[in-house]
Amino acid sequence: MAIDRKKFSIVTAIVVSLAVLPLAVKVDYITNILIVLFLYVILSQSWNVIGGYAGQMHLGLGALFGMGALTTRLLWSAGTPLPLSLLAGAISSAILAVIIGVPTLRLRSHYFAIGTLGVAIIAMTTVGNVLPGLAFLPGAYIASYNILTRYYLSLGLMVMAVAVVYLLVNSKLGLGMVCVRDDEGAAEATGVNAFKCKLQALTISSALAGLAGGGFAFYQSSLYYHMPFGLRWSFEPVLITLVGGSGTIAGPIIGSVFYVILKEIFGLALGEVNILIFGALFVLVVLFLPEGLIRLPEKLRQLSVKAGQQEAVAQESLGDRGGKGGER
């Protein structure tokens, strides 16, 4: 695996500047926005693994995000050290994913989509019924609430998530996932165990979603237990990833930046205008730019080159009229 020197130095520069930023700019508002951004990046990378690379329309990421959040929160507020709680959150999501995945991944992809949506709604309703209350933190935890700790934790988790996806994509499993996405039959014929491959993708994706949930549970000082199970956590990563560019590392990051900026601009309006705009953008992307916004500059360049070529051809044929025109 050859690591591109230039890309590597750019990524390092971004991470370092993000690490220094809250020390230089001491505005809690910006720090909070960035924490939310990092969590969205983790969550959309999680969807990117199962939806973008393995090609499975997962509409129930909320169940796994919620599972991670719930486990982490319960363990952490009971006194377990934070790293252990986060790990347990990720593992519990991965276990839930295997339980969901073993039966549903054998089905055709649209059954998987509506099946996972069903699972998300079951999880949401059940948790809402069993734990209807608000989760408060122990007093000592609130007294020691420090925004910078949250910031660095979510930054670290995000870097880790992106690194995991990068390593995964450049591994044999990643190649298998892409094969299964592009043509399941052909993948099986060349010796890829499609089911196993999809299940592994789902497990990794869900562990990442659980990690995002854990980060979220750590960030929120008080939250309803059923809140991280909400359908928005299932829907938003799909929107973000596909708009940004699914099946690419940068796509979900670009999508998340767009999404969080829109969310802040329209934060005070009623009815989430950001989702309205993103929904419309999403439909346009699905119809006309299936590879996402990340391919937009390239597409535009192609179009202009094409237009230029057509012009040149038109002029040439005008000039050649009557002549042989046989040079080409």
């Binding site: 329309m57 509409l59 039966p103 549903t104 054998r106 089905l107 055709r108 992809s109 649209h110 059954y111 989509a113 509506i114 099946g115 949506l117 069903g118 699972v119 709604i121 079951i122 309703t125 059940t126 019924n129 359908l231 829907f235 799909v238 929107l239 596909l242 309006a269 009623l270 009815g271 989430e272 205008v273 989702i275 309205l276 993103f278 929904g279 419309a280 999403f282 439909v283 699905v286 119809l287």
Partner: protein, 294 residues
């Protein structure tokens, strides 16, 4: 448990079942004919219910009487949606069609739900007529008027759809396009036109359950819950099976009634969804679907 209680539970099960069948009908028609899984269907029912509400609010038209009006409105919306979005998918093979229509429907669902919130706020509304909550009783069993009207509507809609699909030339072309679009096209059927009209009919059918729902409670977020019921029914019936939809609706109604009676209302949705998942796993072609399509 007395005989009256059982009869009462069954009555409600049948009423709910008829409503579920109506909700799933348009979804099933669109899937059956062109393999579009339009998951915005619940949100379109929500839109229809708002149509009924405003017609009642401003002009005092009864929701059941305004069904033709909301149907025309939704038909027009269906035409626009097809031309603007869904017509681009006809070039894809079946598998890609399902996936892409699902994605577009997903975007549409978010657009519709959030537009409704912006336009009409997230307040809960409902139409209250003189017969809301009224019922008559036969030997201790209550029959609510709204429920009876819903059952009546379901029967009328099934009959009309049956006539359309089997007795008219256009219905024949819809069935031909559903069975094999390539052959239908070779036989001189205008596929683009058939798809456009059947898609619009599928959307217009959302107006029928919308009338009943506007008499209960509506808010911009009800779409996803309605979609779930419709999806459960469509999968139970076998995807694309139009005839099985009402039987599957009744089945879901009875299952839910049993769940409410034994576990309580809190888990009504969960129970339906669990049955749905089990059917999805054990018999993905549905209870009445013939073709095995794994």
């Amino acid at each position: 448990m007395t005989a009256e209680t059982v009869a009462q539970i069954l009555i409600y099960a049948v009423i709910n079942g008829a409503l579920y069948g109506l909700m799933a009908l348009g979804l099933s028609l669109v899937y059956g004919v062109m393999r579009y899984l339009n998951i915005a269907h619940g949100s379109l029912i929500m839109l229809g219910a708002y149509g009924s509400f405003w017609l009642f609010h401003y002009w005092g038209i009864d929701p059941f009487a305004s069904i033709p009006l909301t149907m025309v409105g939704l038909f027009a919306i269906g035409v626009i949606l097809y031309i603007a979005m869904f017509s681009f998918l006809t070039r894809f093979p079946e598998r890609e069609r399902i996936k892409n229509s699902l994605l577009i429907g997903f975007g549409l669902l978010l657009i519709l739900d959030n537009s409704a919130t912006l336009l009409w706020t997230s307040d809960e509304r409902s139409v209250t007529t003189f017969y809301t909550g009224a019922s008559f009783s036969i030997s201790g069993v209550f029959l609510p008027y709204i429920g009876l009207l819903t059952i009546g509507l379901a029967l009328i809609v099934v009959f009309c759809l049956y006539l359309l699909l089997t007795k008219t030339y256009f219905g024949k072309s819809i069935r031909a396009a559903a069975q094999n679009s390539d052959s239908a096209s070779l036989m001189g059927i205008n596929l683009g036109w058939t798809y456009l009209v059947s898609f619009a009919i599928g959307i217009a059918l959302a107006a029928v359950p919308a009338a009943t729902i506007s008499l209960a409670v509506i808010n911009p977020g009800i779409g996803i819950g309605l979609l779930c019921k419709a999806l459960i029914v469509v999968v139970l019936a076998g995807m694309g099976s139009i005839g099985g939809v009402f039987v599957a609706g009744q089945l879901l109604g009875i299952l839910e009634a049993a769940a409410v009676f034994s576990i309580g209302t809190a888990y009504r949705e969960v129970f339906g969804l669990i049955v749905f998942l089990i059917v999805l796993l054990v018999r993905p072609q549905g209870l009445f679907g013939k073709k095995l399509e794994m």
